[in-house]
Symmetry: C2
Subunit: 322 residues, 2 copies
């Protein structure tokens, strides 16, 4: 039976039919399915439940780094490289300044040409919805759709290191950190803990001054960080725009994949990200259920005179009947 | 009776005594209290409860913007300006690259000299604790301590527009967005919804090309955004390093304060941020209580074969006994 949704494109969308078309790899249906999961609803959940047994085959790669580091360019170059080797590629850009997602007007001007026209490549940009909005919440769900549709490689392009990006980053097999030959960026990334989560590091625009020094510094910090780690994150110099270093990055990705596959780490990694998603869903439901109209009203009443005597923590205890 | 805490500085800290000293404005005790609230505990909560009735008098100002925009410089210039007018100032830097917080090694080199030595100024930098860590969680609590201690002005310096920064940003009376004459930054800020929350905009380093154009563009966008809003956010050109424009920004802050005070908006604003804090505390407790060892074990069991058939949402339903 069709499930009725508010989606204007489909007043009465047939979810099992849509799921079947996604699994058959029909790209128009994939696009439609991704639009559907961008607005959580009973229908989008039904779709995700249906495709779930077909999720988990794609290789998921994250490309992250500060604005201007050349993430879009590297992403497109990697997509080209994968296409040349055969696999279908999905790209999900969750970066408001991304050249891929349309920031190209102001950003990088590598034209995508053949990549955009290639039916083996699906590009989806996720717009932000205001500060702290649901930015990355649906990015992993969109990846599940692409995964179930048969895309063998999915690349997330995402800026920076906020909580939202972290959700994306924790759901990839291999995380590539792109940086510029600029010590300030590195120090900031280090302080934010970014060096601890990167699997491959790329110093892009390596024609700029200090690129070799930056590479050496990064390598030193990474060695200090995990001198006996079984995977030593490589640092690669690149000029993504002209393609220099892209093959080397590609080789590192494949090496990292072999490493993950060889010792069962990939299952553990995926269990971790699914566990994270379950926890997030549970927490959202717990919170949604607690905040009834009645409790919202009680909160309002308790804060009528906000600095009267009850601190925020005491008001919380009151609401929780502690 | 003293409450025992794991704080190495005070194996048996006398919380009521500490609270009394904070309220008396003893800055050594203020520093100690801030260190205490940076690690949530029964003792830190007891302290916050005790000082709460004395919180809410300080003017809270946020200075936010991308790295390199000159936030630290503007923050210090504003602190100087306030000191010249009399009030005690507290500065809380929650930016890993902040010149104020010690990123000065690589960042801006305005030396703080007299500001650092001025007993009327208290500067506290909050280090990040890894990705998505408790960065800003204690920043508002630290501000409460400074507020209760009698500081009349509190300035938060914070980078960017992540979820963590948003918590800080939503707890200020006046938010200053600092930007550079760079259209890319503005487009990114716009997409992230930053233009909707700023009260005052500063185009810093206005000696760079296109500053006047940037100001005009920003004004146009802001007019479009809220043509009939009672507060029209002003856009000011500045060169914070040499002090140009700082008096004008200062005047805008005071004008915004008058606007907030005149029509009771300030009470509403503060009720909103306290409500936000209550909700956050409630949500944290709900989540903490749900995830018992037993439920964590059940989650692990359910994910033994992660792509078997149950989707993340279905596993969540199982755990919630839906």
């Amino acid at each position: 039976m069709p499930i009725h949704t508010p989606d204007s494109l489909a007043p009465a969308m047939d979810i099992p039919d849509l799921a079947a078309k996604v699994l058959a790899g029909e790209m128009k249906s994939v696009a439609r399915a991704i639009r559907l999961v961008e607005e959580p609803s009973a229908a989008s959940q039904a779709l995700l439940d249906l495709i779930w047994p077909h999720v988990g085959r794609a290789q998921r790669i994250g490309v992250t780094g500060p604005p201007g580091a050349g993430k879009s360019t590297l992403t497109l170059q990697l997509a080209r490289r994968y296409r040349a080797a055969g696999p279908g590629v999905g790209i999900i850009a969750v970066d408001p300044s991304s050249a891929v997602s349309g920031g190209a007007l102001f950003g990088d001007r590598l034209r995508m040409g053949e990549i955009e026209m290639d039916p083996g490549v699906f590009i989806r940009s996720m717009a932000t919805r205001g500060i702290g909005g649901g930015l990355a919440l649906c990015a992993t769900e969109a990846a599940d759709i692409l995964d179930a549709s048969g895309k063998e490689v999915i690349i997330f392009e995402t800026v920076g290191i906020g909580q939202l990006e972290l959700d994306v980053v924790s759901a990839v097999d291999t995380l590539i950190m792109v940086t510029l030959p600029n010590a300030g960026d590195m120090v900031q990334a280090m302080k934010a803990g970014a060096l601890e989560v990167g699997d491959i590091f790329v110093v892009n625009k390596a024609d700029l001054a200090d690129a070799a020094l930056m590479k050496a510094d990064l390598e030193a910090v990474l060695r200090m960080q995990g001198p006996s780690a079984p995977w030593q994150p490589p640092v690669e110099l690149a000029q993504a725009r002209s393609g220099i270093g892209v093959d080397a990055v590609f080789a590192h990705i494949q090496a990292h994949r072999s490493y993950l596959l060889a010792n069962g780490r990939i299952e553990q990694k995926r269990k971790n990200w699914i566990a994270g998603r379950v926890q997030k869903i549970v927490n959202q439901r717990l919170i949604g259920r607690f905040w009834t109209q009645d409790r919202k009203k009680r909160l309002e009443d308790l804060l009528r005179d906000p600095f009267s005597g009850l601190s925020a923590s005491q008001v919380a205890s009151n609401l929780l009947d502690d």
